[in-house]
Symmetry: C2
DNA sequence: GCGGCCCTGATGTGATCACAAGGCGGGCAT
DNA sequence: ATGCCCGCCTTGTGATCACATCAGGGCCGC
């Protein structure tokens, strides 16, 4: 695709692609608060281009659920309802253990070492109270593992879920004043080293549901 | 959203929305073969509009994986690799039992009766060798059940998976000369009537994997 | 003081144009 | 006859414009 083409020849990527990447990153990392309004002309002016590519980038992000359109077509980051957050968390809890399980047979030492290093970076971001850094390294931890699953369609679907949760994530990690990396990450690493598939599934699933539990009101059946 | 607005006032929906719906339906029902090339000007001319709304509709469908862009930006329906089909089938097998399970507590008699009626229609389409009709009624069966789960985000994600499988589905149902509705649908109905949640999950999961097994080469570990 | 109404400016939508890239076919050389 | 090359013409991209819609603020009347 476009990425590969750019890797071969340094031809500038299409403008709408660049806008898309930029917005997508900002949204996924939680740099935009939920409910933040955006305008096509504003996005376009920011990069000194016309509205056309801005429209295309926004349309694409809306299709992925990263942005929402009001009835009159105004664009904003989504302000998720509790029910929707619960659904998205449940989807993560379904897909991520599956990806981890598929990655397990291919997880050699070098990968586990890299995951451990990323986990250290997560801890540093947590100590610095760097919310964006925390989200970015946390996602990098998961993505690095799941890339080994060799399941691009699943990973793509999962990333759109992360994307939808992006603006909300920021609120989560600001609320919980965390000082260290998620404790379940160590369990994930241990299960990977041991080649223990059930333990890995459980650790991943718990990591996901723990991370989002803070957003759900009643801790009643959050783990159903 | 736009649908609700249209329901209140019969104002015509936005052109790009209309194009999107039309294309989406044709793709999901398998009316377009895999690898079919489309052009923005062609889509636009078909409905006597300019390229702009056609571009938006296509961009949206590309974001959902319903269409693919070649390196030079040409648009076509995706020709899925076997690996990708397996991934999408696995995603269906993860998400659909969950949706069925969530729908179970809300599944009253009227719903089960309606599902049985739809199932009859599936059988009729099968006997008439009506591939598009078969796919449409089959999806309607599943969607009708899952709508009761009150999980719009999950259902939306699932529909994008169906969408990606659309062009390929056509090939499946032409290959297997089926004469009746999927046999697991009866098991789904029975589990719903009995309120048996594990049986329902199993029946749904089996229905999904059986339906797509014909596309996978070696029947070795398709059900892993 | 306050609530409702109207107007204006901002915003999204669709059409049209200019341009660059590339696919495909015809034509030429061997 | 066949293979290659070149040029045309289709195709996607970005810019610009006209227009309908609507949100928000100011103004008037109570």
């Amino acid at each position: 695709m476009a990425t590969a083409a750019r890797a071969l020849a340094p031809s500038p990527p299409a403008v709408h692609e660049r806008l898309y990447r930029a917005l997508r990153t900002r949204i996924m990392l939680g740099e935009l608060p939920p409910g933040r309004a955006l305008t096509l002309r504003g996005i376009a002016a920011e990069e000194r281009v016309s509205m056309t590519p801005a429209r295309e980038a926004v349309r694409r992000l809306v299709a992925e659920g990263a942005l929402t359109l009001s009835a009159s077509g105004r664009v904003s980051t989504p302000a998720l309802s509790v029910e929707r957050i619960e659904e998205l968390a449940a989807l993560r809890a379904l897909i991520e253990p599956e990806l981890a399980s598929r990655a397990l047979p291919r997880a050699h030492f070098a990968l586990i070492d890299r995951l451990a290093a990323i986990n250290t970076a997560i801890g540093e971001a947590a100590q610095n109270h760097d919310a964006v850094g925390y989200i970015r390294t946390n996602l990098e931890f998961h993505r690095t593992l799941y890339l080994r699953a060799q399941a691009p369609a699943m990973l793509a679907m999962l990333e759109t879920i992360w994307l939808q949760l992006g603006p909300t994530m920021r609120a989560v990690y600001q609320r919980m004043r965390r000082n260290e990396a998620p404790r379940h990450h160590r369990m994930i690493l241990a299960a990977l080293r041991a080649g223990d598939e059930p333990a890995l599934r459980l650790a991943v699933r718990t990591d996901v549901t723990q991370g989002l539990r803070h957003l759900l009101p009643a801790p009643a059946d959050a783990g159903r």
